[in-house]
């Protein structure tokens, strides 16, 4: 098992109190696995990705363990994490298109970045050129400023930079959301190619777009209101989801071939609860068509069949 996260809790400090963005999350990612992480905005999916890399000043580590390749990550200690960042665990940030320093030529920026990680730039220069070629960029992009690149080119550039030191775990946060459909496909397939060539070990791909995850992810994890709702192999989640939220989410997605006049899709009524004071028991209870008395107790995260876990009283 490459990554094992146990009961991770990370809150945001606000004047009104702690926002429980990540409230007890347990999962594992196998070696070479691409784990898709889906959910609505504000469900904590980006917080999960970020807290594995850097817990910033607004966030507060509360509890939980993270073990990567047998080594426990000191995620609460930002300085200690420095030894792991970029070498062992790397992130392609959300809005990667604005992640490049606009005042530096890209080559210079990469050199500074790599050297700040105690790796001489000349050691990686050839590999960098090879990988740029792989994603369809010419080496002369290194002499250009970020503004001279299109959105899709910047996204691919950031992907190459993030994976340059062959991290064991890569977190890709909403990397396709700002792109056109044709660039989306290219970027998603680049992720697969990177895994094939062993540039990265395993990946957590965070996005709200379930259909992209269906294309590339091995397993799919659905989050709701700071907790995991369900995790299983992608095909299993799509064909027989056990958590009612997963089921409703998937059936609300329009797809080419489905037309309003012929088949009317429906959304999920209501809104997710506030994470400032989340309700006791199942957090999806208020919107759930299957809710019954027992849902006032919190459903445990249990494995209902091998490789398929869910937190729902009706599923177990």
């Amino acid at each position: 098992m490459s990554l094992q996260v146990t009961d991770l809790r990370v809150y945001y400090r606000t004047l009104a109190g702690d926002v429980k963005a990540l409230d007890g999350v347990t999962f594992g990612v196998a070696d070479g696995e691409i784990m898709g992480l889906a959910g609505e905005s504000g469900c904590g999916k980006s917080t999960l990705g970020n807290s594995l890399v850097r817990i910033d000043g607004r966030m507060k580590y509360v509890a939980g363990r993270v073990v990567l390749d047998g080594v426990e990550l000191p995620i609460a200690d930002s300085d200690e994490m420095d030894h792991f960042r970029y070498h062992e665990i790397s992130i392609i940030p959300q809005y990667a298109m604005s992640a490049l320093n606009p005042t530096r030529k890209i080559g210079k920026m990469v050199a500074e970045l790599v050297e700040s990680r105690r790796t001489p730039f000349r050691e990686v220069r050839d590999e960098l050129a090879r990988r740029l070629d792989l994603v369809g960029l010419t080496p002369d992009v290194l002499d250009r400023y970020p503004i001279e690149l299109s959105g899709g080119m910047k996204q691919r550039m950031v992907m190459v930079i993030s994976t340059l030191l062959n991290p064991s775990l890569l977190i890709a946060d909403e990397i396709t959301s700002a792109l056109d459909v044709s660039s989306q496909k290219a970027v998603a397939q680049t992720l697969l190619e990177f895994r094939e060539r062993k540039f990265v070990g395993s990946m957590i791909v965070v996005t709200h777009d379930v259909s992209i995850l269906y294309q590339i992810a091995d397993t799919l994890t659905v989050m709701y209101a700071g907790k995991l709702a369900e995790k299983a192999a992608t095909d299993v989640i799509m064909e027989r989801p056990r958590h009612p939220y997963t089921h409703l989410l998937i059936s609300s997605l329009p797809e080419i071939g489905i037309r309003f006049a012929e088949k009317r899709l429906s959304g999920i009524p209501g809104a997710p609860p506030s994470l400032l004071n989340p309700p006791a028991g199942c957090r999806f209870r208020d919107r759930c068509p299957l809710a019954f008395a027992k849902c006032a107790e919190e459903p445990p995260w249990v494995e209902i069949e091998p490789g398929h876990s869910a937190a729902c009283w009706k599923a177990s």
Binding site: Q189, R259, F260
Partner: protein
């Protein structure tokens, strides 16, 4: 009937505006009452520019936009106000359409000030409640709140309600659901479907092909400011003829079929291979401006037109 006839728009860009960027070129289509037309294109294809020109937020450089035969370019004063009674727009980011320091009822009181000055308080409240009712909102639950206290879907529905306060006949919906969550976006989309049934004509601007396919009666595919293919939605999606349209449709991530799995050929294979455009216009298209030139966008079937992908600036093939 809202009609666009060979509409052009160019922007001046670069140092001292020395370069001309042609954002929209010779775009013609129309929207009838109770019809949803989706305008699909990638970023920079000019779809938002078209929406803004219809709303008179941008000036047309060439061609004309007319509503029931009246060109909108010359409207001013009371006539323009009357135009906005009939044509309204809703935009992508619901929160940036609201002033965050006012409660959301401010959105409506501005409209009241301009259009319903003579209405009594009770009549106004009734009208407001009716309008909010059409978008499935309870006035008591939303009007006294600030924008940040509402969800994106709620604010977006409020903005649609504001657009419907007037005697709106056409709605320009520019990426209205791209910022909404999966569980609520379909409700806003269904709302558009219900409004259409009441006779509202909707221009649904989107980059998401599956949403366009779900809601629209007709589809216009835009590439670099030019229409490459348009027609009835089932025809454009079921039998795409232009290579660009096919590429777009093939790139859309589907839920039940992977990219690398072979897709069934669109339409019958033979028809997809031969170039319909050149069967109808066998000679290469001469430069535009020539009165004899075949149209860039040629009808290839009942309510289905496609532009030649090779006939570029030079008109060569």
């Amino acid at each position: 009937m809202l009609t666009l006839d060979r509409v052009n728009k160019s922007y001046r860009v670069g140092l001292f505006g020395g370069t001309e960027l042609r954002a929209v070129r010779d775009v013609s289509f129309d929207i009838g009452a109770g019809e949803v037309v989706s305008l699909i294109g990638e970023s920079g294809s000019g779809k938002t520019t078209i929406g803004k020109m219809i709303l008179r937020l941008l000036v047309v450089n060439g061609g004309s936009i007319a509503v029931d035969g009246v060109d909108i370019a010359g409207l001013a004063g009371a006539e323009l106000r009357a135009y906005y009674r009939r044509v309204q727009g809703v935009f992508q980011d619901p929160f940036s359409s609201c002033n965050p320091i006012f409660k959301v009822d401010h959105l409506f009181s501005v409209v009241r000030g301009v259009y319903f000055g003579g209405l009594s308080e009770a009549d106004w409240r009734r009208k407001l409640a009716a309008s909010l009712g059409t978008v499935n909102l309870e006035p008591g639950q939303v009007l006294h709140k600030y924008p940040h206290q509402l969800s994106g879907g709620q604010v977006q529905r409020l903005l649609i309600a504001r657009a419907l306060l007037l005697d709106t006949q056409f709605l320009v919906a520019d990426e209205i659901i791209s910022m909404l969550d999966a569980s609520t976006r379909i409700d806003v989309l269904n709302l558009l479907g219900d409004l259409k049934a009441r006779g509202l004509g909707i221009l649904f601007i989107t980059h998401d092909l599956s949403l366009g396919n779900y809601i629209s009666d007709r589809t216009v595919i835009l590439r670099r400011g030019r229409v490459v293919e348009m027609g009835a939605t089932p025809k454009v999606f079921g039998n795409p003829l232009h290579p660009y349209t096919r590429m777009l449709i093939a790139s859309v991530p589907l839920l039940h079929r992977k990219w690398d799995e072979a897709r069934p050929a669109a339409g019958d294979g033979a028809a997809a291979e031969r170039c319909v455009y050149h069967e109808m216009y066998p000679r290469t298209a001469p430069a535009r401006g020539d009165g004899e030139a075949p149209p860039l966008l040629a009808a290839v079937g009942d309510d289905h037109s496609v532009a030649c992908s090779r006939a570029d600036e030079e008109g060569g093939c």
